[in-house]
Amino acid sequence: MSAKPASFRPTMPETIAGVALLLVAVAPIVFDVGNYALGLLVSSLVLAGLGLSWALLGNLGGMVSFGHAAFFGVGAYASALVSARLGLPVVVAVPLGGLVASLSAITMLPTLRLSGPYFALAILAYAQIFRILATEAASITGGAGGLQRYPSLPTILGLDLSSRTGSYLLVLSVVAVFAGVYVAIRRSHVGIALRAIAESEVATRVVGVDSLRLKAWMLLLSAFMAGVFGALNAHVIGFLEPDYAFGGSWSMMPIIAAVFGGYRTVLGPICGAVAIYLFDQLVAKSLIPVGHEILLGVVLAVMVLIAPNGIAGFVGGLLDRPKGGRPHVAT
């Protein structure tokens, strides 16, 4: 088995897209959009990271998760607890939160023998178990009352990461790093095999691919990513309770974001999350203050009907059309 990359040299369109994205990413700082807007962007980027971790699992291995809230919540609680109770620095606690989320995913490894809806439902069940554990283990987690007294993000090299600007730059950087990791895996031989496993698992096993092992690694990595974003979010918002940290929206929103943006691409889930979150907060909430999520359902349904491959697939298709080339499936 080899993880040797197929090719890491970016093409010209990829380079242009990268520079454009960088400019878009720093624009809110350069143009000083204000604390409220930056706060919304931080939350949307947390969702983007979670969407990326969900899409990684779905795209590389074909595993559809209905339970990413479990990893998000475990990461959040683990980071908050080790920083508050053990006094570990937040910069150590956050990756540790991701690691604990990965460890929690080990208990889910038996579900990898399931496929399709059975896997999805099994993961959903696991997520409920972790929410109940967080509620019942009150002596550790604070129970239903939650946790409030734990450190916020620190100041590093003079940059206060707990400020809106600092949080934005930190979460944006972590999203970028994980997107880079995702791209590297996708382009490696392992990534090519994982893309094949998603739709043709027997065909890969019969040529020597240990599909269970590769899927297990992707589950652990996806859990780590989700756990890190759960941890970052916990330190950004400063409070945790089981119904929030393990809430169903942390399972559903990344799915909506990834499908809306195009889950088979790397940029799709990120763009989808930012678009969906800002639409929800700025448009849907103003139109329907209570039950505004219904508009997300409408938007997603329309999107699936007119562009089943999401924004990325739609835009890619438009770009490819004049040349008559291969349909755009990856960014």
């Binding site: 090519i192 043709s200 065909a203 096993r205 040529v207 020597g208 691919v209």
Partner: protein, 235 residues
């Protein structure tokens, strides 16, 4: 090279294979014959590791009965499926790359080119496997993938099915070429008696999951049990 001892498979109350025993020496082209439902594909599934049997399967002197599918492929058991199973989201070349890297443990682009050329699908190398290939090209891709694993034994499940006689003859010559070029041992499932007679030095016949004949093609096709199984006589 390959030895089966008292291999049996049951699916619930149905005996798919019952005490099947035979050996395949290195370098042989063996025909696996039998009416529909005789257990030929189940036998391939059992040898390749998709189905766990009772009994014993030895490959290259090693008991592989408990080995999973992917490990048997790495040991050198390659196979094709009756209905081609390409890796749908990959190009033809990527299909072979995955087979080579994970099955043979090395990435040798030149060998991939060689296999693509031999299987005459080089012109489709960078095309999507699932959407751009006709059925016969998909069958060639099936064999190409199996070859990329560097198999010692190649199990071919009805690769000649659906071909008209001229195309079947040419494909048969191709199989002979592969046999010589890659030093393969081949087990082929095929219904056509003439093809088996021309291609194989030996044939085994299954009926209702039991091995009912084993010998040269001439011998087995004259065997009264084989004639009876093909003419619908009760077993």
């Amino acid at each position: 090279m390959l030895r089966l001892d008292a291999v049996s498979v049951r699916f619930g109350g149905l005996s798919a294979l019952t005490d099947v025993s035979f050996a395949v020496p290195a370098g042989e082209i063996l025909g696996l014959v039998g009416p529909n439902g005789a257990g030929k594909t189940t036998l391939f599934n059992t040898i390749s590791g998709l189905v766990r049997p009772r009994g014993r399967i030895a490959f290259d002197g090693r008991d592989v009965t408990g080995e999973p599918l992917h490990r048997r492929a790495r040991l050198g058991i390659g196979r094709t499926f009756q209905i081609p199973q390409p890796m749908h989201r990959l190009t033809v070349r990527e299909n072979l790359l995955v087979a080579q890297v994970f099955g043979a443990g090395a990435h040798e682009p030149e060998r991939i080119d060689e296999i693509l050329a031999v299987m005459e699908i080089g012109h489709k190398a960078d095309a999507d496997a699932a959407t751009s290939l006709a059925l016969q090209e998909l069958k060639r891709l099936e064999i190409a993938k199996a070859l990329a694993v560097r198999p010692k034994v190649l199990l071919l499940d009805e690769v000649l099915a659906g071909l008209e006689s001229r195309a079947k003859h040419l494909f048969m010559l191709k199989l002979r070429e592969l046999h010589a070029l890659f030093g393969l041992t081949i087990v082929i499932v095929e219904h056509d008696i003439e093809t088996i007679s021309n291609l194989c030095s030996r044939a085994v016949v299954l009926d209702f999951g039991r091995l009912i004949a084993d010998g040269t093609p001439d011998e087995v096709f004259r065997d009264p049990n084989v004639v009876k199984s093909y003419t619908g006589g009760t077993h």
